[in-house]
């Protein structure tokens, strides 16, 4: 943790407790501007850029969810692709039943949450690395089962129905907007979740599980809730993924690559922060775009950086930045005492 500022008293003579430093106010303004720009993007920037942005949002969604699982609830999952795939196929299934694919997105998220609930009862019997590999078994099993269902395309896959009435540019625009909305919902949702009581509970579990338990925290329930939320988030990511792709097949939607990307991005950006997965995703996309011609080298380099960061700078890039400069764009903790800004006392005096 960074050095706490020395305690200062508020006007009632009590030690002041605040949620943010001045930088958070600036963030809000900056964020609003960004939101407006990104919403208008399909009409402002070329189509390839919009598509890249869309893929970026999908990665941010998955990384934010993985970070919630690992950085806050302490569960290293290498099987979140199970819910990406299940979300994708839930969307496909509902679209085959005649629903508008875009409408199915929240339903796909709910479906994943529902499936995740009984899965936790199996998974939570294991700890540590065994838990991790078990998540992978779940993902593998989900992929294999879906692969046997012929109506969903079986092992070879099929295309998403319900989009033929739209022109290619309309599809692209709506896919982009849908993905952008989901990303916005997921990131702001996570932000408010971590600022809530559950967020405090999670932080206490992360810091010292035994102490948290003896303080009355229901550790297992909290973890269960987080797992279900992460499943829903990844399900939504899978849904928009399916809509954005012309062809849906199990090896793609359930690909281990999603797990690797989620993990590397969060580690490099910074575990346990909201900004981390976003920063990590930005770096990832820059790397991927630059090295696009070189096969899988971007993944090798990214993986090596992630390993190096885990060993030498475990707080990630954003974590290191935050420690050095004491700034937080999306604060989820509390400041006790002074902040760096002049305090504005009610009545207008400073």
């Amino acid at each position: 943790m960074s050095n706490p500022p020395s305690p200062a008293l508020d006007r009632n003579g009590l030690i002041a407790v605040r949620r943010s430093t001045h930088s958070a106010i600036y963030t809000l303004v900056g964020a609003l501007i960004l939101v407006v720009l990104l919403t208008a993007a399909p009409w402002i920037v070329p189509a390839e850029v919009a598509t890249t942005l869309m893929n970026f949002f999908i990665l941010v969604i998955m990384a934010t969810m993985w970070n919630l699982l690992a950085g806050y609830a302490g569960m290293v999952s290498i099987g979140q692709q199970a819910f990406v795939g299940l979300g994708a196929y839930a969307t496909l299934y509902l679209a085959l039943k005649g629903m508008n694919p875009f409408v199915t997105i929240p339903l796909a998220a709910v479906a994943c949450a529902v499936i995740a609930y009984p899965v936790t009862y199996l998974l939570f019997r294991l700890r540590g690395g065994y838990f991790s590999i078990a998540t992978w078994v779940i993902a593998d099993t989900a992929m294999l089962i879906i692969g046997t269902i012929a109506v969903l395309g079986g092992g070879t896959g099929r295309s998403m129905p319900g989009l033929q009435n739209l022109s290619p540019s309309q599809t692209a625009h709506y896919s982009y907007l849908a993905t952008w909305v989901v990303a916005l919902v997921v990131v702001t949702g996570t932000y408010y979740l971590l600022r809530s009581r559950l967020g405090l509970v999670l932080a206490s579990i992360r810091d010292n599980e035994v102490a948290a338990r003896s303080a009355g925290v229901h550790v297992r329930s909290a973890r269960r809730i987080v797992f279900i939320i992460a499943a829903a988030g990844c399900g939504a990511a899978g849904a928009v993924l399916a809509i954005s792709q012309p062809f849906i097949q199990p090896t793609n939607e359930f690909n281990m690559q999603w797990a690797a990307e989620m993990l590397f991005v969060s580690m490099i950006g910074g575990l346990g922060t909201i900004e981390g997965p976003i920063i990590g995703s930005i770096i990832f996309f820059i790397l991927q775009q630059t090295l696009q011609q070189e096969g899988v080298w971007y993944l090798i380099i990214f993986g090596t950086i992630a390993v190096a960061i885990a060993l030498w700078q475990p707080r990630g890039l954003w974590g290191a930045f935050r420690d050095r400069f004491h700034t937080e764009l999306l604060p989820v903790g509390y400041w006790v005492g002074e902040t760096k800004v002049k305090r504005k006392i009610r009545g207008g005096q400073t």
Binding site: Y121, R125, S132, I133
Partner: protein, 290 residues
């Protein structure tokens, strides 16, 4: 009668899974580490065998004599450097680092060798088999692998039970601090355990390469099977791993018999059932359970 062959094939496959898994089991028992790159080590060993065989002018079937000790050495070095560093941080970091390594290794192999299948050339031996009954078919290679697995497990058990270093390994696994207080350099012991794990998995990798085609991603799927074998048999028990491997192999063969698509799925389902009904496995101690 056909079911008998299914069981026989399952047992043979189980021997291979046990060989693959014993290193995983050892590393978890002693270092308390799950090496997510364990499977990839096997594949790298197979590639090394394929690469070295023409240079060393030895028949492929003997390549393990060079590669296995080499990987033992590599295991010791990797443990004393990378793995120890991540253990010193926390178990979390170890998972992330080994997963990262796994992805990096797989993709490096993909770049170097492409996704095409390779085999360790053992000449005509691959086709030879024994037919004790008209529908029971036991390939020499699979039988040799099963024999090797049992031999390795026996030697390992003897080593752990009756030698001084073996006792130290068990002591470190029981209580690392108490072992230090008895004069053990636990980092060195970790290194030895890792060396054994890498050596056995290298042997398993070469065996795999002899039995079938392998590709850069083969490590991953076999890690999954090794893990399932350990959990089914019981975490913390070497012989449990053999039983678990056989159970997994038999389940997979039954699934494959119904429909080739169901092979891996059948194994996964057995794993999930064991997890639901008897999470400590058939012979396990409860160390990895919550």
């Amino acid at each position: 009668m056909i079911w008998l062959n299914v069981i026989v094939q399952g047992v043979l496959l189980g021997g291979f899974y046990a060989l693959f898994a014993c290193g995983l089991s050892l590393m978890f028992g002693v270092l308390k580490v799950i090496n997510l790159a364990h499977g990839d080590m096997a594949v790298v060993a197979a590639y090394v065998a394929v690469f070295l065989t023409p240079h060393l002018h030895i028949p492929g079937v003997w390549s393990f004599l060079v590669v296995v000790p080499l990987f033992g050495l590599i295991g010791y070095v990797v443990q004393r450097t990378l793995i120890q560093k991540s253990i010193d941080r926390d178990p979390f970091t170890t998972l992330l680092v080994t997963f990262g390594l796994s992805v990096v290794i797989e993709n490096l192999l993909l770049e170097a060798y492409t996704a095409n299948g390779q085999t360790v050339n053992i000449g005509s031996l691959i086709a030879k088999s024994w037919h004790p009954a008209s529908i029971i078919y036991i390939s020499y290679v699979s039988l040799a692998v099963l024999a090797a697995a049992v031999l390795v497990l026996v030697l390992l058990q003897l080593f752990l039970s009756y030698t001084g270093t073996g006792r130290l390994i068990r002591a470190v696994a029981d209580d690392r601090e108490a072992a230090q207080l008895s004069g053990a350099n636990y980092r060195h012991i970790f290194g030895i355990a890792a060396a054994i794990a890498f050596a056995t998995v290298a042997l398993a990798g070469i065996a795999y390469g002899m039995m079938t085609q392998f590709a850069p991603t083969s490590g991953g799927i076999n890690l999954l099977f090794a893990f399932e074998a350990v959990v089914i048999g019981g975490i913390g028990s070497l012989w449990g791993t053999l039983v678990g491997g056989v159970a997994l192999g038999v389940a997979q063969q039954f699934g494959a018999h119904l429909n080739p698509q169901y092979q891996v799925l059948a194994g996964n389902l057995l794993f999930l059932v064991v997890l639901a009904v008897r999470p400590q496995g058939l012979f396990g101690k409860k160390t990895a359970l919550s």
